[in-house]
Symmetry: C2
Subunit: 316 residues, 2 copies
């Protein structure tokens, strides 16, 4: 019964959110657990911003600005413009309604609630029934080494607009898994690695203490979707990072990163020629359309992933 | 030289802000120090809101919503509406641009800046040259005893809309004067008690450790403007509070509160009959138009106050 499969999805931001929005058309949303990267979280103006959690939240709520892939559709920027007039740095865009999320989150955190609790409250308020879990309630921070030194992730990603070649990535903070993360992985029927950046989205989730081991131990098949199609990232700096970090800029390069963790790998039709090379890494390869250009394509990719999981399960 | 008089004005919110906007048309704004009540300050959504400081700031910047007397003219409420959808209490109205002030203030306070420093930074950002001083950098909180118990000030004032008779007022916190407060009082040529609520606006300023004594010791004449005209408060609950706290609801009732502190008292033309009763309290009375309906009336009241100070000085 595909509809009742307990799906765990390791998530970054835009690509994962789009994948989830297709997945919930195929399986019961209440049986989907999204484990979302928090190493991009940052304080702006004293407010705790969780970019990946919010992208997933807004997308599943049907409120995301689909063109950008993040932020709320039709949001205004009165506060941001006023903050700029007060002399504050406003290179990280925060819309007015989006700010309400950050204000609410920060207020609850300061009252002593955990990020998990706050995330669950936000999901309820937005009517999202997918279980949204931050990968950790502890601070975890992605740092990127550029040629002129280590940068905070958002400084590298947004302020400098990924112009600097990433030479090295590290995650600060001894992050423990948030409540429910390990249990969800252990109980899953399918574990999906979303088409997110392997270095700065999936990497930090796997770096949370015990998560990688829990996935390796879990009985469920692990299916990854390549975020690289035809040698390019559909969104964000994944292609440039593969190059600057010494990997082949292709779905094969990504597959090599996930070697040993992933049982099945979904690549795009136009990368079909890579299939034999990925196959020898010990992954079952599915070749299918992976570009989520509309609702039908998202749903189709979800079905592809679920059948790839079925195939991997049958093979073991 | 009236233009170069060093004026210190003890301030609450709307009435004080209007008075200051007239005063700066008569004297050099850079020689005016506003010592502003902070006992109304409250955290909303984890943000530090200073209602009286902001009313004075916005008014002197020419940006206030003149109809309400507070908040920014033409401000929007996108954040507030989004906070309400998240289930937050939004009985205290916070406009979008106004929120930027609170976000900025809160961020600076959390970085370790004092309220004085933050207030000076805000004044600079808004182009306000009047020296704005919070009465204290320490927390001070006005509490109001209603028939069903003690209430936080904003709960009594805004949430319950002053429907409860105030039976008693107290100020919590051992507030010490902010840097510059006592020096400004000592160096003043004129000390003005603005037409603000004597109980909950001027009262807490006088309750800051050493402020009342500094005023009593200061060589400058102290001039108060009655916030009660014809037995009614022009704004806010002052009249109802005089009644519920056992005072005569008139300029005379206010004068009795300020007895021993104030040298000269300015009352409105329509209260001329009260002059002899105030005179016997040891105050020189000036009878003049006091309703600040337009810029000319504000300027005229400022001139009235400055001449009342001259008169009081000449008499000593």
């Amino acid at each position: 019964m595909i509809e009742s499969a307990r799906c765990v999805v390791l998530c970054g931001g835009v690509g994962a959110a789009r994948f989830l929005s297709g997945l919930v058309r195929v399986v019961d949303p209440a049986r989907v657990t999204a484990i979302v990267n928090v190493a991009d979280d940052e304080e702006f103006h004293g407010l705790h911003v969780s970019p990946d959690l919010d992208t997933v939240l807004y997308t599943l709520a049907g409120l995301v600005d689909g063109t950008r892939g993040w932020g709320l559709l039709g949001d205004t920027d009165a506060v941001q413009r006023a903050l700029a007039r007060l002399g504050r740095d406003t290179w990280f865009q925060l819309g007015d309604r989006d700010l309400a999320t950050h204000i609410h989150r920060t207020a609850l955190l300061r009252e002593g609630r955990t990020l998990s609790e706050v995330t669950a409250a936000l999901a309820r308020a937005f009517g999202v029934t997918v279980r949204l879990l931050p990968s950790s309630d502890d601070p975890q921070a992605t740092k990127v080494r550029a040629d002129d030194g280590w940068l905070d992730f958002q400084e590298w990603f947004v302020r400098r607009a990924t112009r600097d070649a990433a030479r090295e990535i590290r995650f600060e903070g001894d992050a423990r898994p948030a409540p429910g993360v390990l249990d969800a992985i252990a109980a899953a029927d399918v574990i999906v690695v979303a088409p997110s950046n392997p270095f700065v989205s999936i990497g930090p989730v796997l770096a949370v203490a015990g998560v990688r081991e829990a996935i390796e131990r879990a009985p469920a098949p692990v299916v990854a979707v390549s975020p690289i199609v035809g040698g390019e990232a559909l969104k964000g700096p994944a292609a440039a990072m593969l190059a600057s970090l010494g990997y082949e800029v292709s779905a094969l390069g990504v597959a090599r990163i996930y070697r040993g963790l992933v049982d099945a790998f979904v690549i795009d039709d136009r990368d079909a020629a890579l299939a034999p090379h990925i196959d020898v890494l010990g992954m079952r390869v599915t070749v299918a359309p992976t570009i989520m250009r509309d609702a039908a394509a998202k749903e189709s990719l979800a079905r592809t992933v679920l059948s790839a999981a079925e195939g991997a399960r049958a093979a073991t």
